[in-house]
Symmetry: C2
Subunit: 231 residues, 2 copies
């Protein structure tokens, strides 16, 4: 029993929770799971679980998220570690929170391991969550507001090809402010960060907008020249 099961043994005092943001129709969403087993069955929470001895903390975060929600192949980044003594009522558990930004439409959700439901919630309509998960989510939202202004991470929330107005609406939803259309356009265009696709919107009841995409290699080139993304 010993060595053979070592790889499945988890570190009991340490868990992972993930804050996954999505965006659609000018609104920001967060991914939540409903516990399907144990004393917390029926309660909503952030996707999360325990770390195995033979996987890195980063790897555990991906595994847990995919197992519970079917969301996969995204970029997860550490948010913060939450270590208050009483944060988990049953025993001493410290949690490492991760966050990610995804394009909501790309994922087919599926309630997996010990989860009875998975759903996107409007960021302004989140129910009471288990443990300190509402605090973790708030922290993640603040972090996102800050980070989106200094790094071009917002594009992960959009389809691969998007219009300038979509980006503007994304920033307005996250920062909870209003932006000037023409000034915002110009600022983005002048960065030389976005690549114009030779394509326009289709089936819209107004003049079709040009589509752009974010290109990682263009960004890296700019970075090498000392470019600093600022909105």
């Amino acid at each position: 029993m010993e060595n053979s099961n070592f790889s499945e043994k988890v570190i009991e005092a340490l868990s992972i929770d993930t804050v996954i943001f999505g965006f659609e129709a000018s609104k920001l969403f967060v991914l939540l799971v409903k516990h399907g087993e144990g004393k917390y069955a029926g309660k909503w929470a952030l996707p999360g679980g325990f770390i195995k001895y033979n996987e890195s903390v980063d790897d555990a975060a991906y595994r847990i998220l995919t197992d519970q929600t079917a969301v996969r192949d995204i970029f997860l980044e550490e948010l913060k570690t939450f270590g208050e003594v009483q944060r988990y009522p049953d025993s001493r558990v410290i949690t490492v929170a991760y966050y990610a930004l995804v394009n909501k439409q790309n994922f087919e959700l599926n309630a997996g391991a010990s989860v009875s439901d998975v759903r996107w919630f409007d960021i302004h309509e989140v129910p009471h969550l288990l443990f300190d998960h509402n605090d973790i989510l708030s922290y993640g939202f603040s972090h996102l507001k800050h980070k989106i202004q200094h790094e071009p991470i917002g594009f992960n929330l959009l389809p691969r090809k998007f219009t300038l107005l979509q980006i503007k609406e994304l920033y307005e939803a996250i920062l909870e402010i209003e932006l000037d259309k023409s000034n915002f356009r110009r600022k983005l265009i002048k960065m030389n960060l976005l690549v114009a696709c030779n394509e326009k919107q289709k089936d819209v009841a107004h003049r079709a907008a040009r589509l752009y995409r974010f290109d990682e290699s263009v960004y890296n080139n700019l970075l090498r020249k000392g470019f600093v993304f600022e909105v």
Copy 2:
């Protein structure tokens, strides 16, 4: 033995390491300890240790730092959690790294618990450290470079009263760039963040400069009005 010792029991899979930055004579330093016991005796490392069951992770960071170095009453902030499987060779240990900025002259160092030496090292003359501590330090230095430009945390590295030139030299040391004297002066003055003391430098072989201090409440007032610190 059981309940009575519960409070002293540590979480084995989780440790803490601290990156403490100091500043003096236009140079940036980091605080290191030499292990005094066990198989790593004689090796330099970041101050660090294990978390007890009845203390928060934040509290553990303060306790460990003070026990090992005598540095106390400072503001520690989480840096990042390092969770690679092989980062600690003897067993699986995930570490939560913290960092802080202090005024080097304010502290009398003292090698405490299981430590044979404590010393400030010039950031550019750091020896090979135990485990992944050089990586943690590098990460901390990058983080500091970034953060110091968006939040007024650099003042923690200076004496309570300081000159504008001292701040300039602090930024030059951390960012590893050169700044224009008069433009930097003007920028800081125009923020209305610094409080001018009615006092000047003494015993200097040149015109004595006016002394300023950073006032937390002034900063909070500015924040409420929408002020954003940017250097």
